[in-house]
Symmetry: C2
Subunit: 364 residues, 2 copies
Amino acid sequence: MKEERVFSFAGMTSRIIIGEAAPSAGEIIRDAGGNVSGILAICDEHTLPLAKKITSERPASLCVLPPGEEAKTWESVERILKTARDSGLGRDSLFMGIGGGVVTDLAGFAASVYMRGTGLCFVSTTLLGMVDAAVGGKTGFDLFGAKNLTGTFYPASLVYMPVETLRTLPEREWKSGMAELVKTAVIAGAELFQILKSDRLDPDDGETLAACIARAVAVKGGIVEADPLELGTARALLNLGHTFGHALESSAGLGRISHGEAVAWGMVRACELGVKLGVTPPGRALDIRRLLESYDFELEAPHPFMGEDDCFIKAIEGDKKKKAGLPSFIVPGTEGARIVPAARINGTGGWTCVIKNIIDGAAL
Amino acid sequence: MKEERVFSFAGMTSRIIIGEAAPSAGEIIRDAGGNVSGILAICDEHTLPLAKKITSERPASLCVLPPGEEAKTWESVERILKTARDSGLGRDSLFMGIGGGVVTDLAGFAASVYMRGTGLCFVSTTLLGMVDAAVGGKTGFDLFGAKNLTGTFYPASLVYMPVETLRTLPEREWKSGMAELVKTAVIAGAELFQILKSDRLDPDDGETLAACIARAVAVKGGIVEADPLELGTARALLNLGHTFGHALESSAGLGRISHGEAVAWGMVRACELGVKLGVTPPGRALDIRRLLESYDFELEAPHPFMGEDDCFIKAIEGDKKKKAGLPSFIVPGTEGARIVPAARINGTGGWTCVIKNIIDGAAL
């Protein structure tokens, strides 16, 4: 079993390889065309054994980061850059991000700025990484309590997705990926939505998993190809559930709620907003909620970790995607999803009152 | 007097406007097409009055950095990002770097990573900035004692070069720019070389100055257009004098020698290497040295601030431009300049011995 997709993001080619097992450093260098003067493997404590296995037959520098979203800091980036510098790596070296979204976002950022850009590949080891973080070129880290406030667009030229690594994925990580997979299905994958609805996805069923991942990669890759630098609106659709979700993560304190939990909760809020605005058919909203429920997400509003309403609204106002000072929301349509700028949300007290009602569970 | 040049660097357009006076924020926003949701003016203590003047009629946030190369740190980048964040700026805001190369390199880097990229313009206020730093999209800061170890390619869409700001430029800054101007003339500007030779350039002669700057901008812009991401060899020619110069700066301790002093000294070393290799005609080497002498540069080897030979060689080995583990040197040819990889420098004891002899003044 091996599926490949090749995308071109803003002139940079990104080859995605979905397979059973992780590649060796030798295979990676061969796939990269051979011109690699040095390797820097970047992993966290969980993926350290895999990183060692991948690089066992090649000389490679190693940078081990602390696990989790809390590690998405400048200090982690600096640690990667220092390892590269101390190893004497040049611009023609290859950074390998081996792990989930946090590791690949950090490795990608470090690769994009070390000597103004080195080679970059990912071995993605989480469902979230495979269906979302490792595809499309967004890199970054958190700053001043804001998620991914700092980042670059810098796609990995090679992205490996070995599904066997998902068998040992912790429940929380698995759910994080499921939320993004459902999101992708809502945006553009009627067929994927049906597969997810008909059967609860299982980490041991590598074939079905690989097929779902390949579909999600095709959807995300296609959207990013059309709008690599997020200048237009197409790519914004990928933020379904994220405006609410990021604000939940921020107001709860970064790291308290997993990204996927936040996005699942945010998608249900987006559905409620969509129903209220007459954009989302109530039946579709229910369908989406039921699918998320079947994967045991916490979907009630208000969320137990949410914090103050005003803090939540402030987090929404600080969102990167705002235009002309106002945030936008993505809501499901009859099919796919639509963008709703805050200015178009009318109600007593303006858009903030409408949103407050929704996050407080007073909307429906 | 107003000269304009438009370049396209890796798909991004950069418009260079050489004029007498600095523009107002209103003019800048008009030139930028009007779609700007907020302004962040970034300057240092020297250019603060100019930054205040430029933004006097528009609401703008202001970030004032300490002056000098010592400020080229992550802490300065973080200060810019914090000001942007605290001012609630979004991706559609405009960062204005107002100052010399340090300010524009930092402002450019911050703009390239804040929310993965905001609008960016420069008001360049030094000769070095105008003939080099502000053109071509290289941003960056120093890390672990290495110059520009961290950076991005992110050209400003608008670059203003008001020559009246050069009248109050300190002597040291003026010489820094002159070194890059001479370098540009050596690489590709026989005509520019003649102008510089025939008459000592004067900060009060705005017309001649603007003409020389326009020529230098045309040379640098043309080279960068052909190789925006420095993947090929054309852009490497711009590093004439820089392999030696950067190593001198590093081994002396960053900030002790101005960039221009280091580059002028490095160019003479490059000439000596070129003569030794039979690539640079001795007459041309002498011509270049005499021109630099006429601008009072310290050109003797060894340089008084140089430090240990081994430290110098180590700094060369850490250079960003190395390929397959070895550095390259740029040396003047019969006309223009040529790239010489270290591997092609043969002599008793290998390339490091040849270079040691040159930096110790034992070469000629």
